[in-house]
């Protein structure tokens, strides 16, 4: 904790100091030691850097997420928020740095094992299976628990039937939790956008993850839908104890919903703390809030 607050303070006071710290404390030697000091941290990113064709998307980003908290990551467009979530979920591989999920350290998270690691995510642009019903889309979120082979499915052998029943039970619970009963048997592609976003949340939640990554879950929604979605996110944490990393553009939603907020700008973390601390931070006001208010005015 000391390290984190010191770091945050340093970031707050002067960017030069943070640059100095990064030079004098090379990534990797001291930070892993911090991991063991924080048993309640379910996700720790240290010194994450990635660039695409010479354009740096993220550089030397640290993030530590405690169990059961709603942790927001905000920043203007192009700040590297989505890159960060893609690195955590293994879709991008960081050039530098380490990711520790539940104490297991990776330099490249294996995306195909993500569900087994207890991490689920949603996507900024919907990534549902358009040819499946709402129920089947949600059921696909439990695919990592299935073991039965296709032969067992065709022959309807006991293990396949048992798995189907277990999945159906979880799916029903999730459908009830997110109030999707009325549309459960519709093809997902025929639903309005706001509901599709909710189905995607359902597909992530049904996996019963420890960590849930939400990439702009409220983007493009009306104010009512946003409030509803925020309610679901909070309820998911309160009832199921899911740790949530929330990437969001709408700063109003974030401030009301999250326990701690990290602010990215041009691929660097410029602030990290409670919503109140972040809101008062002059660097944030300069880099993000000023710009974001302009953007929100334009309806983004």
């Amino acid at each position: 904790m000391i390290g984190a607050s010191l770091g945050a303070a340093a970031y707050e006071r002067a960017p030069e100091i943070s640059a100095l710290l990064a030079v004098t404390n090379p990534v990797g030697d001291r930070r892993p030691a911090c991991l063991s000091l924080r048993p309640d941290a379910v996700l720790v990113l240290s010194g994450i850097g990635i660039s695409f064709g010479g354009v740096t998307a993220l550089s030397d980003v640290d993030l530590e997420v405690k169990s059961g908290e709603i942790r927001a990551v905000i920043g203007p467009n192009g700040a590297g928020k989505s890159s960060l979530i893609n690195i955590i979920s293994g879709l991008y591989h960081a050039d530098h740095g380490k990711i520790a999920i539940d104490g297991q350290s990776f330099s490249r998270v294996p995306a195909s094992r993500l569900a087994q690691l207890g991490v689920a995510r949603t996507f900024q642009n919907l990534a549902l299976f358009g040819g499946l019903s709402v129920r089947d889309n949600i059921a696909s979120g439990r695919v990592h628990t299935r073991r039965a082979s296709f032969v067992e499915h065709i022959a309807s052998l006991p293990r396949a039937r048992r798995e189907d029943a277990a999945v159906a039970e979880k799916v029903d619970k999730t459908i009830a939790f997110l109030h999707l009963e009325a549309v459960a048997d519709r093809l997902v592609a025929t639903l309005p956008y706001g509901l599709q976003k909710r189905v995607e949340l359902a597909r992530a939640l049904v996996a019963e993850p420890n960590v849930l990554l939400l990439d702009e879950p409220m983007a493009g929604m009306t104010a009512t839908e946003k409030a509803e979605m925020a309610g679901f996110v909070r309820a998911a944490r309160d009832r199921h104890g899911v740790t949530i990393i929330l990437i969001e553009h709408d700063i109003g939603v974030v401030m009301g919903l999250s326990d701690r907020v990290a602010v990215l700008d041009y691929g660097r973390k410029i602030a990290d703390g409670t919503p109140t601390e972040v809101r008062a931070d002059p660097a944030v006001i300069r880099a993000y809030i000023g710009a974001a208010e302009g953007e929100n005015g334009e309806g983004i």
Binding site: S89, A111, F150, S156, A204, A207
Partner: protein
């Protein structure tokens, strides 16, 4: 099975769901064997059944799993030549076992040529499956062993017997064909409605999301190639043993692969019924058109010109139809059913 049927009879029965299979069984096993002319069986039903089954197989891969393939004809060839060789070289092998082994051989080749799908998508994958097409034809022509050193690489169907009954007559071959098609189609329809089938669709609709939620994407794609090639391989056995009777490697050329692809596009992707509707269209329609053409204009034009104009008419109909209903005959069928339903109520 009989006990189950009795149980079902005491429960309220969903007649609408049972009606279609019941009609199909009565027609397929009762009326057709009893009344159909041998022309109808030999020239229409046997190619229709074999191509329908191949289309069911390709639809599993392309329609459900989203992997575009132009290798169907090659997998049919593998099935046909494998069946010929298993039958030739293992004395007393029952016909069903021969067909299953032929399907497994096709599945093995299918998995090998499915490996590029782990890296390639869409048109690029389709081009790489062409490799199967060329390789299989080349190997079957090059190595005489496959056709038992027949000088022109031709194989002939062996005597078809199941449990002592000879199926060499038109009706016997028809019964073998229709039973094979019903059994495999039944298994496929169970598969596509299972968790495995939903994995196929997940991989097709969004591969990244599928991977992140834990669908084993590589395994799923190879499984789709394997099962699809198995079915297409068995369809190849039916094509060679029940329909053509003698077949050479060149009979399984790229045209046939395209034909099967067109069947599933016209019939409707990701629809089992679409495979049958598309096959019916492709097999039956040219015959109807040619009869009609001969009847109307037989004396006026020579047969070459008539044949060419039939192709033009067929092509134009396909274009018009696909513009009107891009989701294929299966979707058209649903639309008609809904319209009739709403009118009667």
């Amino acid at each position: 099975m009989a006990v189950q049927a009795l149980d079902a009879a005491t429960l309220p029965i969903d007649w609408q769901r049972l009606a279609l299979p019941a009609v199909l069984i009565v027609v397929g096993y009762g009326l057709i064997p009893a009344y159909a002319s041998s022309y109808l069986v030999e020239a229409i039903l046997l190619p229709f059944l074999a191509l329908s089954l191949a289309a069911v197989g390709l639809n599993l891969l392309t329609g459900y799993c989203g992997q575009l393939s132009l290798g169907s004809s090659a997998f049919m060839a593998v099935g046909a030549f494998a069946a010929y060789n298993f039958n030739l070289r293992i004395g007393g092998l029952p016909l069903p076992a021969t067909m299953i082994l032929a399907g497994i051989s096709a599945a093995g080749i299918g998995v090998v040529f499915g490996l590029p799908s782990l890296r390639l998508r869409g048109f690029y994958l389709a081009v790489s499956t062409l490799a199967a097409q060329f390789f299989v034809q080349w190997a079957l022509t090059k190595f005489g062993w496959f056709s038992n050193y027949n000088p022109s690489g031709v194989i002939s169907a062996p005597h078809l017997t199941v449990a002592g009954f000879s199926l060499d007559g038109a009706t016997g071959r028809y019964l073998l064909s229709v039973t094979t098609v019903i059994v495999l189609t039944g298994l496929v329809s169970r598969l596509v409605n299972s968790a495995t089938g939903r994995n196929f669709i997940a991989v097709r609709d969004n591969e990244t999301a599928a991977r992140v939620i834990g669908v084993p994407v590589l395994r799923t794609k190879l499984l789709a190639f394997a099962i699809s090639s198995f079915i297409i391989g068995v369809a190849g056995v039916l094509w060679a043993f029940t329909y053509l009777r003698t077949v050479e490697p060149a009979g399984f050329n790229l045209d046939r692969s395209f034909q099967i692809l067109f069947i599933i596009i016209i019939g409707g992707l990701a629809s089992i019924r679409g495979a049958f509707l598309g096959a019916a269209f492709i097999v039956v329609f040219p015959l109807v058109l040619s009869r009609l053409g001969a009847f109307l204009f037989g004396g006026l034009f020579d047969s070459g010109a008539l044949d060419m104009s039939q192709r033009i008419v067929l092509g134009a109909l396909i274009i018009i139809f696909l513009i009107a209903e891009p989701n294929g005959l299966s979707a058209l069928f649903d639309r008609l059913k809904r319209r009739i339903g709403s009118r009667s109520s």
